[in-house]
């Protein structure tokens, strides 16, 4: 098949090339995948690959709450903290932790919250997240999360790549490496964010590290054109672009033949081809004009505070429908708000969390409801995560400091229990109550991989003679979380 006819084939087949047919069935909204394309993928680093065992999840939506919310003020109700508020932290609660984060240890502090149990599971939610609370029985809470580090960038890196230093692949890159693409017209691994600029911690958090560069995440910026320079300039005719790309491909192929181990060149070659296909598929994937008003309302698109985040999550659902394997969504800031840039509330937690919770609450609830009603929650794992939590003692009088010793994350959907809670923090919510139940970032990653049909111990890559895996030398699948 010539290059030109292959492209024709792609376009004429209406982008219906759901590679997921190979490993995970037919992609919703797409056709099954053609034999010609399958043959073409045989020598392709993004060709779909079989998991180690049958997968429950086809896609993951990784909701990173950037800046670290205080889960003590969202999900982790602590009556004892309310009683002890205003007093020094009893020494027994500080045993075994080093509190050398900014500002030292203040007095125990509570925000002005109202708490209520929801659903048959009876999970506690504060008044900051009334819409997520309606989905209590879909969630599996991890209330004994732990990590390392006291600064955002380092702990965000650990959350995504398993290391405190740059250089290792992110979880999405490992997933793409292990499973390949389920839709050759879109990147298998997409990063979404709301806000004017890319997330502060940067692209190292969706890097392919030592894996071939083709597995890195592709950042979709907000707005109708998700990828910089993807659109053909108006002054350039389609034929001109065609001729230019053909020449570029010829030269790159010549270079690739000389340097077969140059993974960046190969990634570039693929990205040119993918970019051409994405000129059609990417804007379509993020175009919300055909979504109903009811759907837009569900994601709070018309809310001035939640609108941009809601748009991001609606895009995430559309990407799931189109077979994107891993969608990493980094929470930004509400549009037009110049004071609040993330969940990082060292002071004025009421104001910060009031705004940030309003930004994410309705859109996340909308995402869960929408995935459920479309039958996608059965094959999509939603992970609500952050780089760490926040302390039960106060800072600056009305804020909280960083807390890597005990905080809450949750998952919902494919492969995990619904209406379930694993682990707990101590009576004031400062540390995990039982250290053996501590769920580190490696354990979270191992568990996510398990739902995708991947054994984290067998997902390996030989880097300079050393066998590497996503969970470095750690990681334990938390079997109690699995359905």
């Amino acid at each position: 098949m010539s290059l030109h006819s292959r492209r024709d084939f792609l376009v004429k087949s209406g982008l219906g090339l759901g590679g997921a047919a190979v490993s995970a069935g037919v992609v919703p909204g797409l056709g099954s995948f053609g034999a010609a394309w399958a043959a073409d993928l045989a020598a392709d680093p993004l060709a779909p690959k079989a998991p180690h065992f049958p997968a429950k999840a086809k896609s993951v939506i990784w909701l990173h709450m950037n800046g670290a919310p205080s889960t003590l003020d969202l999900y982790d109700y602590k009556p004892e903290l309310v009683k002890l508020a205003g007093k020094e932290v009893p020494a027994s609660f500080l045993k075994g932790i080093k509190t050398s984060t900014q500002g030292g240890v203040g007095k125990l502090w509570v925000s002005d919250r109202k708490w209520k149990q929801h659903g048959e599971s009876g999970a506690w939610f504060s008044d900051l997240v009334p819409n997520i609370a309606q989905h209590a029985d879909k969630l599996t809470f991890i209330k004994s999360s732990v990590t390392v580090g006291a600064t955002h960038d380092i702990s965000i890196l650990k959350l995504n790549t398993g290391d405190l230093n740059p250089g290792r692949p992110s979880l999405g890159a490992w997933v793409t490496y292990a499973l390949g693409t389920a839709n050759p017209d879109l990147p298998a691994y997409v990063v979404l964010y709301n806000g004017k600029s890319e997330p502060q911690a940067g692209s190292v958090n969706w890097s392919s590290g030592f894996l071939p560069a083709v597995y890195q995440g592709t950042a979709f910026r907000p707005g109708p054109s998700p990828i910089f320079y993807l659109e053909r300039p108006e002054a350039r005719a389609e034929q001109q672009q065609r001729a230019s790309l053909d020449l570029l491909k010829k030269l790159n192929n010549s270079g690739a033949a000389k340097y077969p181990n140059d993974s960046e060149l190969r990634a570039r070659l693929r990205s040119y081809e993918l970019a051409e296909r994405m000129q059609v598929s990417a804007p379509e994937a993020v175009d919300l004009s055909k979504e109903s008003e009811a759907t837009k309302e569900m994601y709070a698109l018309n809310d001035p505070v939640a609108g941009t985040y809601g748009t991001t999550l609606l895009r995430a659902r559309r990407l799931v429908e189109r077979g994107v394997r891993f969608i990493q969504v980094v929470s930004g800031a509400p549009e037009g708000d110049t004071e609040i840039t993330s969940w990082d509330a060292h002071s004025d937690l009421e104001v910060n969390h009031g705004t940030m919770a309003r930004m994410v609450d309705k859109p996340i609830a909308g995402l869960l409801a929408d995935l459920k009603q479309r039958g996608l929650l059965e094959t999509t794992l939603v992970v609500w995560t952050s780089e760490f939590g926040r302390t039960s003692y106060g800072q600056s009088g009305n804020g909280r400091d960083h807390n890597p010793w005990g905080y809450t994350q949750w998952m919902a959907g494919a492969g995990v229990k619904a209406g379930f809670t694993y682990g707990e923090t101590d009576e004031v919510g400062l540390q995990t109550a039982d250290k053996d139940k501590g769920v580190d970032t490696y354990d979270l990653q191992a568990t996510v991989l398990q739902t995708l049909g991947l054994d984290h111990l067998k997902t390996t890559f030989l880097n300079n003679g050393r066998s590497e895996r996503p969970t470095v030398v750690y990681g334990k699948v938390i079997k109690e979380l699995l359905a």
């Binding site: 111990l457 050393r466 066998s467």
Partner: protein, 126 residues
């Protein structure tokens, strides 16, 4: 007189650094443990029995030194327990590698890594 004070100060500083070195585990030893542990995980992963066995033996010797250090230190029961557990796990890994049971060795090596982390995260800061 000035010379005598300077010599005395230097001796005091030296004595202080020796004393503090005795209180702390040798950082080179801890770095070697970390390196050998990573190498062990890799060698088990690629089923290199000889390499994995060498790493596990090295770890056994090094964890014996760690245990001896904390026993001598006298006020670190948690650290003694964790180093004993690490020593025991290294021994188990040696046997599993000898039996070419690399899957079980991978699990045990992961438990060993978690034990190291437990010690660093909790004991070291208490």
């Amino acid at each position: 007189m000035r010379k005598a004070i300077a010599v005395a100060a230097a001796l005091l500083a030296l004595a202080g650094s020796v004393r503090s070195a005795e209180d702390e585990l040798d950082t080179d030893l801890m770095q070697s443990i970390e390196d050998s542990n990573k190498s062990l995980a890799s060698n088990i992963g690629i089923k290199d029995g000889k390499g994995a066995s060498t790493d596990a033996k090295d770890l056994t010797e090094m964890f014996a030194k760690v245990e001896a250090f904390y026993v001598k230190k006298g006020d670190a029961a948690d650290a003694v327990d964790l180093s004993k557990k690490s020593l025991d796990l290294s021994g188990q890994i040696l046997k599993q590698i000898a039996a070419k049971d690399f899957d079980t060795a991978t699990d045990t090596a992961t438990t060993l890594s978690r034990t190291c982390k437990t010690c660093h995260n909790f004991y070291k800061k208490s």
